[in-house]
Amino acid sequence: MDIKVTESERTLVLRKPQKAARMAAEMKAIAYLLPFLIPFAVFYLWPVWRGAWMSLHVWSIQGMQKFVGLANYKKIFTDSDFYLYLWHSFYFVILNVPSVIILGLLLALLINQKIWFRTAIRSVFFLPYVLSVSVVSFIWLRLFDSKYGPINAFLKMIGVPGDFHWLTDKNLAWWAITMSTDWWTVGFVMVLFLAGLQEIPTDHYEAAKIDGAGAWKQFWHITLPGLSRVMKIQVFYQVIAGLKLFGQVQIMTGGGPGDSTNTMIRYIYVTGFKKDMFGLASAQSIVFCLIMLLIAVLQFKLTDSKD
C-alpha cells in the first residue's frame, strides 16, 4: 500500500527522472539479454541474412565472384536432381514418420502396463537415442552387411530365400535407413507418449469400464484422443527431423547406390563443399528452408482445424 502511494506521488512530481529510470530499466534488461544475443546475432541472424545475399551470387570458398540475381534459383528449378532429392527427402518422411510414431506408441502402451522389469525395459528402448548418429550408422552398416551381417545370417537361418543387398540395392536401402533410424529414435517418441499417457485421468477409464467398453474401445475413445496433443507435436517434430536427414545417409550409403538415397541436405552439402558452389548451395538452402516452413505452416493449419 505504502509503495503504491509513493509511486503515484513520484509520477506527479518527478516525471522527468521517471522517464530516465524507465530508460535505464530498458537498457539494463537489454544488457541482460546481450550474452545470448551476441552469439545469436553472429551465428544465426547474420548467416540467415548472409545466406540470402550469397544466393544471389556466384560464390566460392574464396569469396564472392559476381552478382547473378536470381540465376541460381532458376538453375535449381530447372535441375531435375533437385526434384529427385526433394522427393527422396519426402519419401523418407513417408517411411519414417508413420513407422516411428506407431512403434513408439505401441512401446509406450506396453511400458504403461504392469510388466516385469518395467524401468529396465523402458531404459533399453530409450538407450539408442543417446548414441550419436555415427555410432548408430556404424553398427547398422555392419548389421546390414550382405555377406557377414547377422541380419542376413538370421534370414538365412529361418529359411528366407535370396540374397539381400540391403545397402546397395536401390529398393532396400531406404528400408535399411528407416529401420536404423527407427531403432535410434523410437525411444524418444515412446517417452513423450508415456508422459502423455500419464496425463489422461484414470477416472475416464473407470467410467468407460462401468459403461462396459472393451480394451479396444477404451483405446480408441479415451487413449487416442487423450494423446492428440502429444501426437501433433510428435508428427510435427518427426516430419522436420525426417526432412533434415543427413548423417545416416552420409555414413551408411554415401547417397548411393547411384544417387538413390541422396537427400536435400546432402544435395546442399555436395554442391557447397564438394563442388565449391557456395552461391548455388545457399540458394538451395533457402528453397529448402521455405519448403520446411511451408510444411510447418500446413501442419499447423491442418491440426488447428481439427480442434
Partner: protein, 270 residues
C-alpha cells in the same frame, strides 16, 4: 494368462533392441578377422580379448576426440544455461518496453535449422578464422533458443512475493536471478542442461564440416573417418564404436531418471 503374454513380448522386444549393442561389443572383443555370424559364434567366448581396443586407441586419436566431445559438451551446456537462464529471467521478471520484440526475435531462432544456414555459417566462421577450432562448434551451439523458452515457463512459476521481498531488502536484479530464480528452478536447469549436452554430444553435421584436423575432431564427426581408412578391420571399427558408445551408456544408466524426464519435458513443451 494375458499378462504373461505381454511380459514375454516386452522381454523379447527388449532383447531385440539391445541386440545391436551386444553384437557390437561381441565383435569388438573378437580377434581381427573373426566374425559373429553363426549361432556358434555367438556362444564362443574363449577367444575374447581387448586387442582391438588397444589397436584403435594407439593408432587413432579416439581418446582425444572423446575428451573434445566431453569438453565441448560441458562448455556449451554451462554457457548456454547461464545465458539462457539470464535471458529467461529478464523476460519473466523484468518489465521493459521492447520485451515483445526481443522475444519474437529470439523465438525466431526455432524457425530455421542449422542445416539450412550451413553455407553462410561456414563462411562466417571462416572469416572469424575459427575453422578447425573447438569454438567453431561451441559458439553456434549457444544460439538455441529452446532453453530460454523452457526456462521462462519455470521462472514464471517463481512467486512474485519472493522477488518483491528481495527487492525491498535491496537485492539487485542480478541477485534476483542468481540467488532466487536459479535455485528455485534447479530441476528445470538440470533437465535443460542434459538436453543441451546430448544435443552437443550427438551433433554431427556442423562439426563434420567445420573441423578439419584429427586432433580437434569430436567423436561423432571423427568416427566416419575410419570408414575411408582401409587398415581398419570390422572388429576394430566396432571397438571404435564401442569406445564412443560406452561413456554415453554409462552416463545414461547413472542419470537415466533425469535424462528421460529432461527429454520428455523439452520434447513436449518444445
Amino acid at each position: 494368462m494375458k499378462r504373461w503374454v505381454l511380459n514375454v513380448i516386452a522381454v523379447l522386444l527388449a532383447l531385440l533392441f539391445i541386440f545391436p549393442l551386444i553384437w557390437m561389443l561381441l565383435v569388438s572383443l573378437k580377434p581381427d578377422g573373426v566374425n559373429v555370424y553363426t549361432l556358434k559364434d555367438w556362444i564362443t567366448f574363449s577367444d575374447l580379448q581387448l586387442g582391438n581396443y588397444v589397436k584403435v586407441i594407439t593408432s587413432s586419436q579416439i581418446l582425444r576426440w572423446t575428451w573434445n566431445s566431453t569438453l565441448i559438451g560441458l562448455i556449451t551446456t554451462v554457457i548456454s544455461l547461464l545465458f539462457s537462464s539470464l535471458a529467461a529471467f529478464t523476460f519473466s521478471k523484468m518489465p521493459f518496453k521492447s520485451k515483445g520484440l526481443f522475444y519474437v526475435l529470439i523465438a525466431s531462432g526455432l524457425l530455421i535449422p542449422t542445416e539450412a544456414i550451413l553455407i553462410p555459417l561456414y563462411e562466417t566462421t571462416l572469416h572469424l578464422k575459427l575453422i578447425d577450432n573447438i569454438w567453431a562448434i561451441i559458439l553456434p551451439g549457444l544460439t538455441n533458443p529452446i532453453g530460454i523458452l523452457l526456462l521462462k515457463q519455470f521462472m514464471d512459476g517463481v512467486p512474485k512475493d519472493y522477488i518483491e521481498a528481495a527487492q525491498i531488502d535491496g537485492c539487485p536484479s542480478s541477485g534476483l536471478w542468481w540467488r532466487i530464480c536459479l535455485p528455485l528452478t534447479k530441476s528445470a536447469l538440470v533437465s535443460v542442461g542434459i538436453f543441451y549436452f546430448i544435443l552437443s554430444w550427438n551433433n554431427f553435421l556442423w562439426p563434420y564440416l567445420s573441423i578439419t584436423s584429427q586432433e580437434n575432431m569430436i567423436l561423432s564427426a571423427g568416427l566416419p573417418t575410419f570408414l575411408s581408412n582401409n587398415i581398419m578391420s570390422l572388429n576394430m571399427i566396432m571397438a571404435a564404436s564401442a569406445i564412443a558408445a560406452i561413456p554415453t551408456i554409462i552416463v545414461f544408466i547413472v542419470l537415466q531418471r533425469h535424462i528421460v524426464q529432461g527429454v520428455a519435458m523439452s520434447g513436449i513443451k518444445g
